[in-house]
Symmetry: C2
Subunit: 232 residues, 2 copies
């Protein structure tokens, strides 16, 4: 069963037409064939399709059912993530999309060892789009950056700001609750500088820990997001 | 700061002696030098060390403090994990150790595409030992397998058995609570067979879900373990 995000214009008279690179991927790489089932997601709805035609770079499916998207978390999570050396940042975007992160705001932190590559946003969006299809999300997460810390903090104003800090006394599980909108801030392997920590405090960030074990920078944001998404 | 697991025999008269491959790793690879601090873990205690001597394949540290281990979860989690194609199984052992899994029981499931390699236990133990040092665990997780499903189920008798199943209605977060000992069972990418599912039911397994999003086999056990470890 395939899973594709489409534009409203691709839906007409009970049919969904997928062409271009996406149609090529379905018809040539996944080798989708007439009679197969799949899902096209558009604008908050999941359309169940039966493939009528698959040739060249074009797949046409008949809509046999539709429902509101099921794959979005009821808790909106933004990840404020410092640039990490690749492949770690790619892995965070891929796994973070699968666990349900809604928005990635990438920061160029003072101690970020790596610089984000020139084609960064295109690359990150492609990773997020592919991961959103594989995990059956209801939308592709939003991606922006790399921003300065102050610009990033402006972007996340209004959601509860949790700063992952292995030295914090407060476990994440006890800091969560009572909000439907969180931002998790995760620094580079070398941590934040004092100036960066001061900026977080000025934005009412709460320092939280994932326990006494040290998690790698690529794992910590995934674990934190998964815990927040799953809270009852 | 280094972190090493040592045997009680390596501790004597307030000194810890680390030689062999481990001493070589510290002295030659990590280039530990006199005056540096580190931790040696043995038998449930963390010994804080000041390095006195580091030469060849031998590091000697003076004990400057000790305390019970801090890095073990209060919830004992066993992962009953079907063999996955590498590098996925290695990644599960590495990240699972970091999030706090206490025991890995590897199963050769009917739909496991891969066979575990011949040197499997040696390899898995090396990965777990290295991940336990990097994450500052208080002990190296136990590893066994690959076992048949029935042998694996015998190994985990007595702990609460949770079967990860994307189709289950019960979210993991609501199934947890009231126990200090859980087993999480995670199948291969192709899922369990009907016969395997029957065996789980006969062992009172409770089917639980991580929500509507599809997680890859390498990510699902890590997310599940992290949620159980963090529960208040």
């Amino acid at each position: 069963m395939f899973w594709s995000f489409v534009q409203p214009v691709q839906i007409s008279s009970g049919l969904v037409t997928i062409d271009g690179p996406q149609g090529h991927h379905l018809a040539r790489v996944l080798r989708v064939r007439p009679g197969e089932r799949g899902v096209a997601v558009s604008n908050g709805r999941e359309y169940e399709l039966e493939v009528m035609q698959a040739a060249g770079s074009r797949v046409v499916g008949r809509i046999v059912g539709d429902r509101p998207v099921q794959g979005e978390a009821s808790t909106a999570i933004t990840l404020l993530q410092a640039v990490l050396p690749n492949p770690d940042l790619d892995a965070v975007i891929e796994a973070g999309t699968a666990v349900g992160i809604q928005r990635f705001v990438v920061l160029q932190a003072e101690r970020s060892v790596a610089r984000a590559p020139g084609n960064r946003l295109t690359r990150w969006r492609a990773i997020a789009a592919s991961a959103a299809e594989q995990s059956h999300r209801g939308e592709v997460p939003e991606l922006m950056g790399p921003l300065s810390l102050s610009a990033g903090l402006e972007e996340v104003a209004g959601s509860r700001l949790l700063l992952l800090d292995p030295g914090a006394d407060l476990p994440l599980g006890r800091a969560a609750g009572g909000s439907r909108s969180y931002t998790i801030a995760v620094g580079p392997e070398g941590g934040w500088t004092e100036a960066e920590l001061t900026a977080f405090r000025e934005h009412a960030a709460m320092a939280v820990s994932l326990g006494p074990r040290i998690l790698r920078a690529r794992l910590a944001p995934i674990v934190a997001a998964a815990i927040l998404v799953q809270q009852p």
